[in-house]
Symmetry: none
Subunit: 120 residues, 4 copies
DNA sequence: GTGGTCTAGACCACA
DNA sequence: GTGGTCTAGACCACC
């Protein structure tokens, strides 16, 4: 796992966790690794992990129990909403940017399918 | 024109110019506004505009003639390539991210078309 | 009963007991539930209850008889004083904070009455 | 200025700034001291100030201009709303807590006025 | 053991 | 000069 790109490390970790929650790789109620464990595993300072967790907690996606650890929200609806929210946000942004470049949605729809052919 | 979001202002301006070049709103050989003019127009520090121009010059998309000003490249192929390059880059990034969220290209292709219906 | 907010759980429980003593819901000489019973009832670690009791004992509001359990003080004056102490402390803090915000006591006195109208 | 009490320093500073904004001691558009300046002035680590600023920015009460500094929101309505919000929140909390102790609003209203007599 | 806070000092991008 | 991020290491309260 690299953190080369320009984004802050704590954001990259936070996004990683969000994706895992959205795809169900991490489920409701699951215990997240302790701040220290995750820090050593990712070779990052504990403060950095702590910050990722704090941000996620502000979004009500995880919660902490004092002295017990950090857990994914029990509210499965939040996790479902997360996936949908992340997806539509990305799609809208994509279409907006491509429109600026002069693409219509039909072209995009077709290009994406064709791209599939090339890559597979 | 706001520069509220997280991106550096010089990047936002740079992208704006790129899009104008890609869509033909600015054509090969066109003269760009002087650093100072553009700075006052966008209410931005001249250094910021200067940096945008410098970056574009590094990409051979514009060039400066001392005492004359800054101009878009005469090489029309570069501009055509620009559009294609920007588009494919965005598309690849988009598909990659959506795959992480568990979407297939077929779903994306369909979703984009459906999205069209809702919005039009 | 939730313990979501920022306050330490043992403080919340301690305050709860204090209020019950101040309002007479728990009376002088009453036996308190055992640490273990209260812990299971409130779904909390026994250590936490233990700490609440210890703190109350330091304030001479309760006492323990080895092998018998934990009891509210027999000194009825202490309980009366408790109510007054808690009240004046809260009032002073409140007025201090509201003064910082630029409110006079007259305004507060009036606002509280008006607030009553709205809520009843 | 002491930071003795239990609250995190960054919260205390944050609250201080809020009060100054609510009372108009700091006005819309005002430039706040730089992170470093305020840190040396309050004899606190710059990170701590930074955190206070970050939290206030999340509440849209201040904003930062890259490389320029940190400023109070231009939106005067936000500042007015702040005062009202802080006040009602404190009042409600106060009344709630006093009700638990068995006080009616009429008693509170009277007690606050009487308290005035004592203190002046 | 857990997370939360704070300090000290560093580097970076931005204007 | 500005704020943003990160590391290193420490202390604390809580469970």
């Amino acid at each position: 796992m690299d953190f080369d790109n320009g984004l802050p490390i704590y954001i990259q970790i936070l996004n990683l966790l969000k994706i895992k929650m959205a795809t169900g790789e991490i489920k409701e109620g699951d215990k997240l690794p302790s701040v220290r464990d995750m820090a050593t595993e990712l070779k990052v300072n504990p403060n950095t992990i702590s910050r990722s967790y704090t941000e996620l907690e502000k979004e009500d996606l995880i919660y902490t129990q004092r002295g017990m650890g950090t857990f994914v929200t029990e509210d499965i609806e939040k996790l479902k909403a997360l996936k949908k929210k992340m997806a539509t946000k990305k799609i809208h942004k994509f279409i907006l940017e491509m429109k600026e470049l002069g693409f219509t949605k039909e072209e995009l729809s077709r290009d994406i399918l064709e791209l599939k052919m090339e890559e597979d």
